[in-house]
Subunit: 375 residues, 4 copies
């Protein structure tokens, strides 16, 4: 379409569902060229053997991270879609700055390999949980291991553009929020900031499609175990809790503790959160809704629905949108906020691209204007 | 199997999913013979045209209620699986008692037909909402019409055997609870009675399979609208609310108002409720669980799960069981109670048969010992 | 993106699933502006009330066909996504040419309205079955009514670009193939043309997702009737039969009669055909495959898969692609051809846009380069 | 219910879906007591940890086959639900007869353990493929290993009661048919035996729910890979082919080769076969149907449907039924036979119990009278 040079992007960890959705979105992004795909166990294969639906696309073959030829590959952006805990060391390598200046020169230490220095300004968008928690002690507590890149953590910006847009524009490392936090924070941060709801007793009942559990071979992910059934999991101790609390605490000005219960629903994609809140004095469901409507009036990816239209996951399937609404509760002094996103798009790969667009100075919605796919 | 005379049962409104599940369960009930099936719009057809899966079973053809030949049909039990609001008048006809004694003689007025008197002791199990609400004003308020059989309402027993077993044994009219109330009450009534939880801020987040919406031709029930998607509905004003509140208020000793939000999940059967409660002083998730375990130790259809096993709808598919568990919340002073049932069995037809067994003096579990069907 | 004038398109019958998918694809088409949406029963509503997932898009409101203000609406292209049998009269109105020349002037007779003349060259893409059958007697026989626009039928080009590309470029009326014919013809036409397979005993076992049945309120389309189940329908008399036979007969040079059995599968989208053929002497599955690979080497939307990779509907979900492969049969002298498409895209709306692109002289793939959506 | 001694059954390999369905059916079988459950990798666990839906049932814990205490366990019947290829050696051990007489004394050699002799008449019902193929060379060819119990193969009876009822009654080892062969043979054997159809070009297009693939951790069985999708597999070389051919050849009197293509459908249970056949001279779809109706007039588990009612998997979900129908093809001289079963019941566990009933002289339908579960 355009004769200008394309932005060269690499996807580390391209064999998972998040990687697949990054590819789906990036192949129609007008400014981007996919220059690198890695996958450790599938290294050596064409991506169409791992994801047959990508047959016919002109994409690089899968290689191991160790096989990346730095700096010859000339990447402008790296998406890290690696498993939690492995991102840290890879990104540490990618971002190992020299003494002189932060990003003037990078020493790239590919994992288990010797270092090599490149000059550059590689932007990194991490889709794992590794750089989401500002307090690396909290990380250690919830993930059961010490954080391996605490100094880099300080440079990471939490990648929720609707809250941290300006910081993201300046960042070289963005930590994309988890899917559950994305929906929860879009619903709650403006309400807490405006002081409309109590920080006590925020109850988030979340429901997710199965792609959120990844492509790993676990009995609980088998079709027969999931289809025609549903159940909660991780009650009281899901790892997205501290992430939600971190950001709600910022919005609230002091610590917030939440109740958060995710459920597995027999569908591929989609995430819905039904959030039960206590109203501050004189506030109503209507006043909450008005605040959300003002907050998101100029946002392209967040829609507060009219009247009593129910947010539904089918409204956002395959798209980067979040739909919200607020309802009065039967109990006086309470309200119910409902948010729906596609866990793989606004909850992961789409938001990652939104962040990339901001980091590169592109229009924020470039390549993300897909309408939802319904049916 | 047995040479003794079978109990003759009729099902009014046999063409809905509730009717189908009554048939499924009653055809293997050792003491029962299905003697009558009605369906207004499908009158004249064999039931296998309405439900092809019932082909090959020896069942009476569908007739209109008006065509019932009282008293020749000699029914011992009538299951009313009619739409809400139509049950009232039909049951009023069935139960129109003489002045002399309550059930010594019945005048059967089939709807739109002339009256005929039979002597008898027909037991009626109503699966509609018509006789669940003790206060007929509450009924009028939630169902948008005056109750047409207020005097009969007084004779109706609320058919949750785990709470009203003794009253059900003596009843001639039992109003089976709704599916959502069944799960909610089994989880909450013992906790409120024992004073372990606050009656304030009880939040019930409920999820149901699509059969709960019935077989009516609504766009929202189409496969394409439901599959691969989920959403809440009836937020703040679902008709099962007053029913739950009625029974929780009895347990609590004073009025209870709840927050209740149902969601539609892409599965045929199954219902899960995630219930967020506030603990009274010194109570814990453990103390709640202990109370529930004691309460249900001798119950055949309610199981409190071990350890942190998550209740899941697949554990109860097709069976009359309810599975429960209690979890600590991350917020101090709160706990999460989770309950799962099959909405068509313990939430409807199975519970109706459990009630029938009690009314007739049979073993409560007769015909209801099916193991759940998984896969 | 571009300052050049956009092509103004109208969608007649925008409230069905085909209409929804046309909107999904057209809103990201760089050369197109959606200028008109009609829906008879929903006239007066915003499209987001009919399809909540389209909330937030800048789209015209739904009007009745009778309300179209010809010629002021200045349409360049009309997509007719109306029910079968209603397209005829609407398109007859749209295309009613004067005596002078074929399309120099059009008299637009909106249905039930008075005539008005416009000058124009409106291109019409019909997605109904109304203009697919060249022989209007065959139409009458299979659709149970006389064709109402037999003279216009002659001008219609059968819109399968891989076969009729050159004719489509010149056409003003294109009749888009049905979803089943699309997959069947892409698989079989090159094989019959090349004389590799017998025209006898072609057996097409077809499976489709539920969106193929449309959004109408039929019991058989309810979630509970379809989920966790499958069954054949229309055995021996499905209306797509004569359409497949028409085109196979052209390819074969003499009449072909096929065996065609569609099945309903519990999924929203996707269509798979397993086609059993007899090989001509000396032909093999390999020679068939070689022929298909040559035929489609330069086609952007048809891929013959490598090795024994199985065509699967998930490879084409949401995309305009068709995937094909050929397998040897255990019975000597036979082979199995398998084709998969998305019934709503290559089987309907995507192919319609591919046709529009050709009719307008645009690149054939404009707006259709979406990668499939998996998961 | 009864005071008479229960039949003691053991299930070897109880941790798969077949094992689960055996338990579901046997717990309501009036004459049976489940006395033993084995599972190698899960030995030591209660079955409710492997199958949470079995919580609350009074069942023995899982042990390893090596831990079975022969003869103390006093089994009357053993169901082998072990993986293919492992059954052979286990059953060889179970059935190792002395020289004196066939079943007067058994030497039980549990796998990897020393031998011990018990006196007994244990009946064995094998649900694996190990004893289905009479020709052990054919077994070796299709299963890629030599058969380890060729002498025992001769004693095995093919467990399709509708064909081999009398032999099953006398057998001590019954090899239950595969799910695909069950449906295919019920449809075709009577037609071939009666000489109504050609043995040439029998084409079986089969569709199965995912439980047929077992509970093993394969990517292709993950929810996300299967849901909203379908595809064929094993085209031309599925292992059920030789089994179907073996029995069709018996019926035909000479060798039959079939075309057989299975497909994976996004549902838990259910199997549908659409079978395309050539009619012998003067035969019609009607004459085929008449023959099937006569053949199955007295069978309890096979129903030939009325008129043009389509067999559908939802008609047999959870039940031991097979539904059949025959349709004329559009091609003269051809017909289409459609059969539906539940792959886990009539296709596996239900049929195993039907065989057990016959072997023990019980009523054939004992414990198998469940109506199908719809919804």
């Amino acid at each position: 379409m355009s004769t200008e040079k394309k932005i060269r992007v690499g996807i580390l960890g391209a064999s998972g569902y998040t990687g697949a959705d990054l590819v789906r979105l990036l192949v129609v992004h007008p400014n981007v060229e996919i220059a690198l795909l890695t996958a450790e166990r599938k290294a050596g294969l064409p991506i169409s053997e791992v994801f047959p639906h990508l047959v016919g696309l002109d994409l690089p073959g899968l290689i191991s991270i160790n096989e990346i030829e730095w700096p010859a590959v000339e990447l402008d952006v790296v998406f890290c879609a690696l498993p939690h805990a492995t991102s840290q060391e890879v990104i540490k390598g990618l971002l190992h700055a020299t003494n002189h200046s932060l990003l003037d020169e990078l020493i790239i230490e590919t994992v288990g390999d010797q270092a090599s220095a490149i000059k550059g300004d590689v932007k990194i968008v991490d889709l794992s949980a590794d750089f989401r928690l500002r307090d690396t002690n909290t990380y250690a507590q919830w993930y059961g291991r010490e954080h391996q890149a605490t100094e880099i953590q300080k440079r990471a910006v939490y990648g929720l553009p609707e809250i941290y847009r300006e910081q993201i524009k300046e960042a070289d490392l963005v930590a994309c929020p988890g899917c559950y936090p994305t929906a929860a924070l879009l619903a709650l941060v403006p309400l807490l900031k405006a002081g409309l709801i109590s920080a006590e007793d925020i109850i988030i009942d979340a429901k997710s499609g199965v792609s959120g559990a990844g492509r790993s071979l676990k009995e609980s992910n088998l079709f027969v175990e999931v289809a025609e059934a549903m159940h909660p999991y991780g009650v009281g101790h899901h790892r997205h809790m501290p992430e939600i609390e971190q950001e709600l605490s910022v919005a609230n000005g002091e610590n917030v503790k939440i109740s958060f219960t995710p459920h597995l629903v027999p569908m591929n994609r989609g995430e819905l959160e039904t959030i039960y809140v206590k109203l501050k004095d004189d506030e109503t469901a209507d006043s909450l809704k008005t605040t959300l409507m003002k907050q998101y009036a100029d946002e392209q990816f967040v829609t507060v629905l009219d009247g009593s239209t129910m947010p539904a996951t089918r409204m956002v399937r395959g798209s980067n949108n979040c739909v919200l609404n607020v309802f009065p509760d039967r109990i006086d002094g309470r309200a119910i906020v409902v948010a729906a996103i596609d866990n793989l798009v606004k909850g992961s790969s789409g938001q990652a691209i939104q962040n990339m667009n901001l980091m590169l100075g592109l229009d924020e919605n470039t390549g993300l204007m897909q309408a939802p796919m319904f049916p």
